[in-house]
Symmetry: C2
Subunit: 197 residues, 2 copies
């Protein structure tokens, strides 16, 4: 079977946790929807009830909320080979508080709520895949909430730079500041200081 | 088969997501360790590498970190029929930043790292149970991180009181303040104000 590059990327991602037969691979791919988002366009906006969970095959998107003063709080940057979305809105059908905006032209696969449920009936080993994916997400949430408490802005920047070398150079200093949780001016000072070492 | 009350509680919890045969129930129970924690004793302390995930059958425990000034930040209260622990330390074998301290004499089941892995081999349908449990935890994490941004202390208190009526009367005002993220004095004022309505 000849798969295109985006199919190979998502199948490789799945194969980290479970082995699929060729028939299961084809069944799985048939449950996905291809989605394109132009740079500066929104995949999701606060108030939406999201019907998809997403896997990124190309590009970069930022996930953020706006506080009462309209300042963005960026919770993640999602690039190729990442999963993104708002699991809470996806599962509860409540409006999302998140914006997801493309910072580069992006290509994604979406799985709809109906197909997500169907997936577990059709290919039960996906229970294991999602168990392990969610386990990893939970670990990241737990660790990130601890770092918020104990690390300085400079330490958070160094940690981000070290953990995500493939992301740090693709985003603006302003977006980086929105992720670290400081002003763009202070972000600029920290970057200069760290890179001078 | 005659089960004791604690066994029935955990099996009922499991049965929300999956159906076990009697043989599977017995196999599952055989993988658990019974643990007792006296009031004011620690189940876990910062620096420990935790070897268990826990299910509470009786009592109440608080999960918290200490900030640089030694002030507690309580992330959850866990009572009977709740799961608790530090998934990050459990999976990565890194030291936990958490303290888990009993606020009442407590009884728990623990599942060890080895038995947790064994469980999926022996009874694969537990993949589904944990997929759904983690999905729910993720939704709670996502929602809680949003509330931190958008709700006032008073709103957080009302939300907690409404969502956990069975917990709010079992904990001290000081612990409640450590959870809401305010001083005990301010907590006391809010409680008086809300209850006067």
């Amino acid at each position: 079977m000849n798969y295109k590059a985006s199919h190979i990327l998502i199948l490789n991602n799945i194969s980290r946790f479970i082995d699929l037969t060729e028939l299961e691979e084809q069944k799985y791919l048939s449950l996905l929807t291809e989605i394109s988002v132009k740079r500066k366009s929104f995949l999701m906006q606060a108030g939406d009830i999201t019907s998809f969970e997403y896997f990124i095959t190309k590009g970069c998107l930022k996930v953020y909320t706006l506080d009462d003063d309209g300042a963005p709080h960026i919770s993640m940057f999602a690039v190729e080979d990442y999963w993104t979305g708002d699991m809470a809105s996806f599962m509860t059908k409540e409006p999302t508080p998140y914006f997801i905006k493309a910072t580069e032209d992006s290509e994604l696969f979406g799985i709809s709520r109906a197909n997500y449920e169907l997936l577990f009936q059709e290919i039960p080993k996906f229970e294991r895949f999602y168990r392990m994916l969610y386990q990893k997400s939970l670990i990241n949430y737990i660790k990130r909430s601890n770092h918020g408490i104990s690390l300085t802005a400079e330490e958070r920047y160094i940690k981000f730079k070290t953990k995500y070398p493939n992301i740090v150079n693709r985003i603006t200093q302003k977006d980086l500041a929105g992720y670290i949780g400081i002003t763009p001016e202070f972000m600029s000072k920290i970057i200069t200081k760290v890179n001078r070492r």
